[in-house]
């Protein structure tokens, strides 16, 4: 797959299997000198972000999202994924990024954290890439604090700066807690 070519959306099992196979392969390889992480890279408008792949359960084409009353603006509603009702978080809204007009190719990245499962709405899933831990840097200081606090680091992939989101920080954030009314 070319670096900037959108990854084909696969169904739950295919993507999950691919990720698991890649992880198993990594584990069985002769000891490496450097620890690596597998990242799922995606686009939000013109920006690129990534999540650690182990947290990702599946990538789905977004079905119709059912709106709920009285939720935070980034909680877009719920979807039914294989008979499981999952909350949809608009990552652009959550990170305070401008929304783009074309929403026709929206995808959901379904992630699990502790007992919660949520689906992040993104514009495009790019690829799954393995990067060395050492290639992860602190988020640059010029980033708005409101956004940088959700990043565990940044890395440069094919000339693009990619913000690696920290799923634990997002799920435990005040914004998420407030959305629950806690």
């Amino acid at each position: 797959m070319h670096d900037d070519e959108p990854m084909q959306t696969t169904n739950t099992t295919q993507l999950g299997d691919k990720i698991r196979r890649a992880e198993e392969q990594r584990r069985s390889t002769v000891k490496r000198e450097e620890t690596t992480v597998l990242l799922l890279r995606f686009a939000l408008g013109d920006e690129q972000y990534a999540l650690r792949a182990h947290a990702v359960g599946s990538v789905e084409v977004a079905p119709r999202i059912v709106q709920l009353p009285g939720t935070s603006p980034f909680l877009l509603g719920v979807v039914n994924l294989q008979s499981e009702i999952v909350a949809v978080v608009g990552l652009k809204e959550f990170l305070g990024l401008p929304s783009t007009a074309d929403s026709s190719k929206r995808l959901l990245i379904v992630v699990s954290h502790q007992d919660d499962k949520v689906a992040f709405l993104v514009d495009e899933v790019l690829d799954a890439v393995e990067v060395a831990e050492s290639a992860m840097e602190e988020p640059i200081s010029t980033l708005d604090q409101s956004q940088s606090r959700f990043l565990e680091g940044e890395t440069r992939l094919n000339g693009h700066l990619v913000g690696v989101l920290d799923i634990g920080v997002i799920m435990g954030s005040q914004e998420m807690q407030n959305s629950r009314g806690l």
């Binding site: 059912v66 709920l68 009353p69 009285g70 939720t71 909680l75 949520v118 959305s179 009314g181």
Partner: protein, 160 residues
């Protein structure tokens, strides 16, 4: 009614598609002009006469924080809520269906305590479509219901 199913009224409040139990519903009519109401509940937008009494009217869009004008609510659902009649202004009523229990799903944990979670009790799947299932009794807070009951006791009979 079959104990394993729930008969629900389908309606929309702006973009939000809803279902609620049909049993407490007294009538569904086109929205009418309302009289000002002294009841101090933010989402109560007026009152209307019904069977010799005044009935407060709740704008469901306003209750849920939707900003579009009240004129977009075209239908009035008159419901008996804890022995009080309350009118609910909604955008559209689309019918009555019977939902089997296996068509109903709980809200995800992450939404389980959202601001209006108390009135959204489930999500329903109807063929390829989904909507939220709400409880009439929980649209107004206990405090608002208490004020409503007090208002009913003091309000004189409708002479309109």
């Amino acid at each position: 009614m079959d104990s394993e199913s729930l008969s629900v009224l389908l309606f929309n409040s702006q973009e939000i598609r809803c279902a609620a139990e049909v049993e407490p519903v007294v009538s569904v009519t086109e929205a009418r002009e309302l009289r000002p109401c002294s009841l101090e509940v933010s989402c109560v937008v007026g009152m209307m006469p019904h069977d010799q009494e005044w009935v407060p009217v709740v704008d469901l869009g306003a209750r849920w924080g939707s900003g579009s004008p009240q004129s977009s609510r075209s239908f009035m659902i008159l419901v008996r809520v804890r022995d009080q009649l309350v009118g609910f202004l909604v955008s559209e009523c689309t019918g009555v269906v019977s939902l089997a229990l296996d068509q109903l799903f709980s809200l995800p944990r992450v939404l389980a305590h959202s601001r209006h979670e108390r009135c959204v009790c489930a999500v329903a799947q109807i063929d390829d479509d989904m909507l939220i299932v709400i409880e009439w009794d929980s649209i107004l807070t206990p405090d608002e219901q208490e004020r409503l009951a007090k208002w009913h006791r003091t309000e004189t009979a409708c002479t309109a």
